[in-house]
């Protein structure tokens, strides 16, 4: 464990632990922390609005209004309310509050002193002149408590935070502004994560649009845009205030600190833009789902496996027998079949009049073609090459070649019929467009049969070199013509052509 920051954490929590402690408020006793927090929060918002009604009397008023709000006003008495306000302003002995913490650096206990309210000097200067009242503002420690309780709230308002930062900068509180900007950055990141979580949930189940969380988000797109625009304005203002500060307070303020601060502001703008992006992308996804897949939202909302299949059916009622469970589960599975593409299908068109289904070529799986077709091991390349030589020669010379009875001598016809491997290759050519490799392939490992065939032919017949780099496409020419038949073979009139790029 890292003990270094233990003291710091301890110091952060001390003001929380002692908030409202040690007061005796009679009937308000059980509610004192709540009331104290409500007073701090109200002052916080007054400060944001640059409202200076923050004297002790005002705090008393604020306390009463809290009691009204919580419906416990009749438990309060003027004495107990005053007591509470005093107890927030000063500790029992009228000075700072004190608490112990362990300082890891000096290896000993130390005393921390803090207050919840400090005198707002700017405001008090004028009010003393006018009516002699003191105006208070929240101390760093009280601010810390407010932020801590923010932390717990999901609905964190970016614009409010930005206002705060602006305020700090205006007053030249660079350190404070820095802390706030850092806090803003981590908050916004957290929000981005939440949004991403929602996006994932939406992918798992679009009906989350109607979940509690989803409906909260259903602002109109314009509103979302407007909000982001507003926040952009805040950022611009902050930058402006920074520039002013750098100008006006040159002597007072460490320029390096300002530079760091403005860098952090820039970073916070960036993470903020990321958030905007995610929110908008979710909006897009939701719209897309609603428009294009309304059926995903049909049916009873809230239908789910656990409740309807499990809790209300199988668990209490059982099933007819153990085998019925299979019916329940089997629908989750895809059919699996060692799928062999039968050559017969490529010929079937002749009998039933439709074309073979071609498997679309899939760039990712260029090497998989062999798995799809059953190609017997050990192709008698010599014989196959002999048969294919006239084909590719035709392609090289005329740009295309059509398989027809006339193209071959009787002897060749007989050999075609005897060499199914050579015929198979037509089907393979038919399946994908083939670009003839530019280079002599090194090792025949990855290439498919078509490539192998072409490579072998080219290496034996230099006149075929012209084919290198050409794209070959195979079609079935002239559908009306029907298939080519001769003894032992029936095949479509395939045509190989060079595709001009």
């Amino acid at each position: 464990m890292n003990w270094n920051d233990f003291g710091e954490r301890n110091k952060r929590l001390n003001p929380l632990w002692s908030l409202g402690a040690g007061m005796n408020l009679g009937e308000l006793q059980p509610y004192k922390e709540m009331i104290a927090l409500s007073v701090l929060l109200q002052v916080y918002y007054l400060e944001l609005e640059s409202n200076e009604q923050r004297s002790r009397e005002d705090l008393v008023e604020l306390t009463w209004s809290s009691l009204e709000r919580f419906g416990i006003a009749k438990l309060g008495s003027p004495e107990s309310v005053e007591r509470l306000v005093d107890g927030l302003l000063w500790s029992g002995n009228g000075g700072d509050f004190e608490a112990n913490y362990y300082d890891d650096h000096s290896r000993q206990m130390a005393v921390q002193k803090y207050k919840y309210f400090t005198v707002d000097e700017d405001a008090t200067r004028t009010s003393w002149e006018e009516n002699g009242t003191t105006i208070y503002r929240l101390s760093e420690y009280a601010m810390e408590l407010i932020f801590m309780s923010h932390e717990i709230i999901d609905e964190f308002q970016i614009s409010i935070k930005l206002l705060e930062i602006q305020m700090h900068i205006k007053h030249g509180r660079v350190t404070r502004a820095m802390q706030d900007v850092n806090e803003l950055i981590s908050r916004v990141r957290k929000m981005t994560q939440q949004q991403q979580e929602y996006r994932n949930a939406l992918r798992r189940n679009p009906k989350h649009i109607f979940s509690e969380y989803g409906t909260q988000r259903h602002q109109r797109l314009e509103e979302i845009h407007q909000q982001f625009d507003e926040e952009r304005k805040h950022f611009d203002n902050i930058h402006r205030s920074l520039a002013r500060l750098a100008n006006d307070e040159k002597d007072v303020i460490d320029f390096n600190e300002l530079r760091l601060l403005s860098e952090r502001v820039e970073l916070s703008r960036r993470v903020h833009d990321e958030l905007a992006e995610v929110v908008l992308s979710i909006f897009e996804a939701e719209t897309n789902l609603r428009l294009n897949f309304p059926e995903l939202f049909w049916g009873a909302a809230g239908f789910n496996f656990r409740t309807h299949v499990w809790e209300e059916w199988v668990k209490p009622e059982g099933l007819p027998d153990g085998d019925s469970m299979e019916t329940l589960i089997s629908g989750l599975f895809s059919p699996s079949q060692d799928f062999i593409y039968p050559l017969a299908w490529a010929w079937e068109e002749q009998d039933v009049g439709f074309l073979p289904d071609e498997l679309p070529d899939d760039p990712d799986e260029a090497g998989d073609e062999e798995e799809v077709h059953y190609v017997p091991k050990g192709i008698p390349w010599a014989g196959v090459c002999d048969l294919w030589l006239p084909v590719l020669t035709g392609v090289a010379e005329q740009g295309s070649f059509t398989f027809s009875a006339e193209a071959f001598s009787a002897e060749e016809q007989r050999r075609w019929a005897e060499t199914p491997d050579a015929v198979d290759l037509w089907v393979q050519f038919f399946h994908t467009e083939i670009t003839v490799q530019e280079q002599e392939a090194e090792g025949q490992g990855g290439a498919d049969e078509c490539q192998k065939l072409i490579q072998q032919l080219i290496s034996g017949h230099p006149e075929l070199e012209v084919l290198r780099g050409k794209l070959l496409r195979t079609r079935i020419a002239n559908r009306q013509q029907g298939s080519i038949r001769w003894p032992g073979l029936e095949i479509s009139p395939y045509t190989i052509t060079i595709v001009e790029k």
Partner: protein, 252 residues
């Protein structure tokens, strides 16, 4: 509705592509082409139906699934059944099915909640839940609330399950997950491997945890969140027991 040759071609091409790949993302060109043409997509549904399959569009992916009514196709699931087809091992298969059902029930819960269910489950958790479930069923069984056959099957499952150790010796020593009917973990692994081979879950071997994938939610949504399909399933599995009892009364 009449289909042009081209549409039939398109549909069957996509069908066989699905048969090979099982799941195709919607932005895959192979799927996009067919989806744009409603008639071709319609034809695809028919081709699938005749093959005893269903096409499911989750909004992100197309899945090809076997229909619970039975299909001409084998699936990973039927292959498992063949493995445990011998009568004396039938009970093991039933237990594996129970394990899968328990897992599904954990994964897919209340839709109102932001999180649909647990985000993952350990083998130990699953095993505990299965034990508890058998216990519940055995207790319920005392007042004979189950049908005769189901009762017998439960008793057999409970007997086998309670006689099994959590792990076999070799699993323990190798700290590994292995399939098989020799231990509870082995049976759980059988069921979970089945889902993993189907690309529905991810099994983290060293944590011995199962994490559901998006595809699992998509399929469960399709299969169990739809009122009509739910009724269909119920009808398929046979009328509920209360109806059976009514019949028994009527017969008397």
């Amino acid at each position: 509705m009449s289909y042009s040759l081209e549409q039939v071609q398109q549909a069957s091409r996509l069908f066989f592509d699905l048969l090979r790949r099982k799941v195709i993302s919607l932005d895959d060109p192979a799927a996009a082409e067919c989806l744009q043409d409603t008639v071709a997509y319609d034809a695809l549904q028919y081709v699938a139906k005749e093959a005893g399959c269903r096409i499911m569009n989750s909004g992100h992916r197309l899945h090809l699934l076997v229909s619970p009514m039975g299909s001409g196709f084998a699936s990973n699931f039927t292959q498992l059944r063949n493995k445990y087809s011998r009568i004396e091992r039938k009970t093991h298969l039933h237990i594996i099915n129970v394990i899968i059902l328990v897992f599904l029930a954990e994964m897919d819960q209340d839709e109102q909640h932001f999180k649909p269910g647990q985000d993952s489950m350990s083998y130990i958790q699953l095993s505990d839940q299965v034990s508890a479930l058998f216990q519940t069923w055995m207790d319920m069984d005392e007042d004979c609330s189950f049908s005769k056959q189901w009762r017998l099957d439960i008793q057999a499952m409970h007997k086998v399950w309670s006689s099994l150790y959590m792990q076999t010796k070799s699993q323990e020593e190798g700290d590994s997950l292995t399939r098989g009917a020799g231990s509870r973990i082995g049976l759980i692994h059988e069921g979970m491997k089945l889902l993993e081979e189907e690309h529905l879950v991810f099994i983290s071997e060293n944590e011995k945890r199962i994490f559901p994938r998006e595809e699992l939610y998509e399929r469960m949504r399709y299969l169990y969140h739809d009122v009509d399909r739910y009724k269909e399933l119920k009808a398929l599995i046979g009328r509920t027991l209360s109806e059976k009892e009514d019949e028994a009364h009527a017969a008397h």
